[in-house]
Structures are given as structure tokens and as C-alpha cells.
């Protein structure tokens, strides 16, 4: 049996060993940390608990300091974004010294899943429902524009680090709406919520912002090659949302050029 040994290798944080109404579930196990779905305070309040386990190969004192700093930094950025109206999960609690951060659980699926469900398995480029896809791209551009406007760069913008949260009351409105509409486009509905601020920094620099957009552009092209040609809609809406976008987009040209040179050399 592999389960017990896996538990040995990945013991949950101490906090999750204390009783809860439903058992915590491990959602992802990344290089830097783990994400659990669990409950906070009440059985009815789901939360996402991010945990950075100790790294045995690092000096314990240094490791503790780095972990504490990273968890604090992530929480701080989330709070700042939330205050400024950038759609991100709210922070519920944290214990930086013990490496965990509890935040609002965002319902729905990652944007990556939503787009892929929409595009389906087919080979040919879908044009049916393309308006809805463009609309989702605009909501992504708006979210990123708000983020940059706040003075935060994400550091790892991908469609996996954005959630598509069903709008409250979707069920109620959805029923009457659904009758006349294609079910396929419904997977694109919802509010775009940015997550995973583990690599985020506070920055007002055009260069940093342009790199953020470039990372998203490359990630988008490789994750959703069949929707790549619609990427411009993200940048258009970014421009509408964020006053300083023009200088960032000019920088983006430079960053792309450098990227191309690097890939030719590499």
C-alpha cells in the first residue's frame, strides 16, 4: 500500500490534524507548497489552505524565515488587492511561522478548464460561441488591468491561476436564460478571480507589468493554441481598464523581441 508512506512523506500541517466536520482534501502538491480544501471556523465555510512545508535540505532557521516571509507576502498582496477591488480570494487567517494561509474558497473551475471544456476535443477551430470566448478574454484583461493598476504584478499569470466563479444567482437566472442558449457556452460564464500570489510582488514598473503580460501570452498560446488568435481581446480590455496600459504594451513589444531572440539562440 502506498497511502501510509505517502502520508509519511507528506504529513499535513499540524493545524489540519485537529478535528473538523469533513476531512481536508489535498487539491495540489506543487514544488513550493500544497493546497488543501478544508473548512474554516464553521462546517459551512469552505476554505483554501495553502501550506509551505519545511524544506529538510535548508538550514532550519533560514527555512523558517523564508517560509514566514513568503506566506506573509502572499497574504499581504491578497489583502491589498482585495481592498482595491481586484477580484481575489479574501484572507481568513494565517500562521506565517507555521507556514499556512487560509483563504476564501473560490467556487468554479480554473479558467484553463473552462476554456478547454468549451473548445472540446474537436480539431477544427470553433467559431460558434466565439463571442462568449472573446467576452471571457475581456474579463481576464479587466482583472489583470485592475491588478496592475493596484501596483501588483502577479509573477505567474496562467489560465490555471485564475478561477471562473459562477455568479451568485446563476441557478435562478440561468434556467430561464438557458432555454434559448447553447449549453456549450455556459462553461465560459462567471467572474474571473485571480489566485496563486506566491510569486507576486509590488511593482509599478512597465517592464515588470509587460513581463507579466508576456508570461500570460506564452502560457495562453501553449495551453490554448486554438484560441491564441483571440489573445488580443485580453490586451484590448487591459487597455480600457488601466490608464497606463499604452506604455506597458509598448514595453511588451520589447519583451516579446527579447523572448524571440532568446528562443533563437537557445
Amino acid at each position: 500500500m502506498t497511502a501510509p508512506s505517502a502520508n509519511q512523506d507528506f504529513p499535513p500541517p499540524k493545524i489540519l490534524t485537529h478535528p473538523s466536520t469533513s476531512p481536508p482534501t489535498l487539491i495540489t502538491q506543487g514544488a513550493e507548497g500544497r493546497l488543501y480544501k478544508t473548512t474554516h471556523l464553521l462546517p459551512t465555510l469552505p476554505c483554501a489552505l495553502k501550506y509551505r512545508p519545511p524544506k529538510p535540505y535548508r538550514h532550519p532557521a533560514l527555512d523558517a524565515r523564508l517560509t514566514r516571509a513568503r506566506i506573509s507576502a502572499e497574504a499581504k498582496v491578497l489583502e491589498r488587492c482585495w481592498r482595491e477591488g481586484v477580484p481575489v480570494p479574501a484572507v481568513y487567517a494565517m500562521d506565517a511561522a507555521r507556514g499556512w494561509l487560509a483563504m476564501e474558497w473560490i467556487e468554479g473551475v480554473p479558467v484553463r478548464v473552462g476554456i478547454n471544456n468549451f473548445l472540446g476535443e474537436g480539431e477544427e477551430t470553433q467559431t460558434k460561441g466565439e463571442g462568449e470566448l472573446v467576452d471571457l478574454m475581456k474579463r481576464i484583461g479587466e482583472a489583470v488591468g485592475k491588478l496592475h493598476r493596484t501596483g501588483v504584478v502577479h509573477g505567474d499569470l496562467t489560465t490555471s491561476n485564475m478561477m471562473l466563479r459562477p455568479r451568485s444567482g446563476t441557478q435562478v437566472n440561468g434556467e430561464s436564460e438557458a432555454t434559448g442558449r447553447d449549453d456549450r457556452v455556459k462553461v465560459l460564464e462567471g467572474e474571473v478571480v485571480l489566485i496563486d500570489f506566491g510569486l507576486a510582488t509590488q511593482s509599478m514598473s512597465d517592464e515588470d507589468r509587460a513581463v507579466d503580460l508576456y508570461v500570460l501570452e506564452r502560457a495562453f498560446a501553449s495551453t490554448h493554441p486554438r484560441a491564441e488568435r483571440l489573445f488580443g481581446a485580453i490586451l484590448d480590455e487591459y487597455k480600457t481598464t488601466f490608464k497606463k496600459a499604452p506604455s506597458v504594451l509598448a514595453k511588451l513589444e520589447d519583451v516579446r523581441m527579447r523572448g524571440r531572440k532568446r528562443s533563437m539562440l537557445g
Binding site: H18, P19, P43, A75, E84, G85, V91, Y92
Partner: protein
């Protein structure tokens, strides 16, 4: 009895949390003096209800304090003072007591929280015990106060000494007691861009509650 036992998620089972609300308290001065005298019979967190938004807001502070207790990282003398300080957005203890604690001559409606640490029943001990009904274990269990007795004795003590109307610690009871201008000042909720476009009052309250809880969690970082 309006004193309820509150079971929070991810709290060790030997930690028992009790809470209730007293309205129109007439002896805040006496209660305050007991705290100042460090009377061990008055080991409670007394929280001025006018500085509290909701159950979620209060329980967030209780949870933070219990976590500090469990991890051995209390910044204040005990878990009860820690609850009061956990409501603050910084680590200033005196400041926290002034804002969330009991104020002689002022506090009218009072939230009381009591945290009891019962002897730990180690799970390894229980499972590794070779015989099922070891007499020593039974004796230990008999010595331990029954939870109902514990709750009853806290309740008796509170109703003897707090002169006020016991009320359930519900959102419905707490909401009318909140002094919003004060709370907005404490948690810097004025001129928050995220609240600007919010038309719905109930939704706005929910967002303000979240901002307060975030301020508490971040402690001025």
C-alpha cells in the same frame, strides 16, 4: 441558558469554547475591576459588543487566540487576553483593551468568551493500551469534569456576577449593537475602493466584515 458551547473547525477536542452575550450590563465597573485585580475566578474574555461586527468576526479572533495557545505563541498572558488582542490590527495590547475590552462607565453590551483547556486524552495512549477497560483510565475519566457540569458552572458564575440580560450570541442580536463609525475607524474601512461600488447594504456589511478579519489576520504587515 444562553451560554453555548462552540465547536470550531480545526481546534483540538480538549479545548472547550463557551460564549454568550449580556445586554444592558449595569456592573461593567465591577467586572473591569476584577480583571485589573487578576482575580482568577474571572478568567474570561470580556468584549464590548459595540466593537464587534458579527459572530464570524468574533470567532475569527477566538480562533486566532486558540491557535496561539495551541502552538505556544501567545503574545499576551493568557488565551482570554489573546482574544481581545486578536481583534486588533496590530499587537498593541493597551490599545486593544481600550477598543475591544470592557470600558468602565461605557460598556453596555458585553460578549463573554471562556476557553477551558481540559486534560488531553492522548490518542496514542488510548489505542496502545493493551486492555480495553483499564481501571486507571476510568478513574481519570471520572475525575475529569463532565462537559455539562463545566458549562453549568460557568453559566452559574456568570449569571451571579454579570448584571445584565443574557442573550444568544447570534448575528441578529449582535448587528444592532455595532457602533459602525467606531468599527470603521478601527479597521480603516472608510474610503476603501472595493466598497465604493457596493449598492446593497447587506453585501457591504459582509465585505466590511471580511476586511476587518483580513486586517486582524495580517496584523499590520
Amino acid at each position: 441558558m444562553t451560554l453555548e458551547k462552540i465547536q470550531l473547525e480545526h481546534v483540538p477536542s480538549n479545548i472547550h469554547i463557551y460564549a454568550t452575550l449580556f445586554r444592558d450590563v449595569s456592573n461593567a465597573d465591577f467586572l473591569h475591576s476584577q480583571l485589573l485585580a487578576r482575580n482568577p475566578d474571572f478568567e474570561y474574555a470580556f468584549v464590548d459588543a459595540s466593537s464587534v461586527i458579527s459572530r464570524f468576526h468574533l470567532l475569527s479572533a477566538v480562533y486566532a487566540a486558540v491557535n496561539a495557545l495551541v502552538t505556544g505563541t501567545l503574545r499576551t498572558p493568557n488565551v482570554h487576553s489573546e482574544i481581545v488582542v486578536s481583534l486588533n490590527t496590530n499587537n498593541n495590547i493597551a490599545d486593544a483593551y481600550r477598543r475591544w475590552g470592557i470600558t468602565p462607565g461605557k460598556t453596555k453590551d458585553l460578549i463573554v468568551v471562556k476557553v477551558v483547556v481540559a486534560p488531553e486524552v492522548s490518542s496514542t495512549e488510548t489505542t496502545s493500551s493493551p486492555t480495553k477497560d483499564k481501571p486507571t483510565t476510568q478513574e481519570q475519566q471520572q475525575q475529569q469534569q463532565q462537559p455539562e457540569d463545566e458549562q453549568q458552572s460557568i453559566w452559574t458564575h456568570l449569571t451571579t456576577h454579570v448584571k445584565g440580560t443574557p442573550s444568544e450570541l447570534s448575528d441578529a442580536n449582535l448587528a444592532p449593537l455595532t457602533d459602525w463609525p467606531k468599527v470603521r475607524k478601527y479597521y480603516r474601512l472608510n474610503a476603501v475602493p472595493a466598497l465604493a461600488g457596493c449598492k446593497d447594504d447587506e453585501e457591504k456589511r459582509r465585505q466590511e466584515e471580511r476586511l476587518a478579519v483580513m486586517g486582524m489576520a495580517l496584523k499590520g504587515l
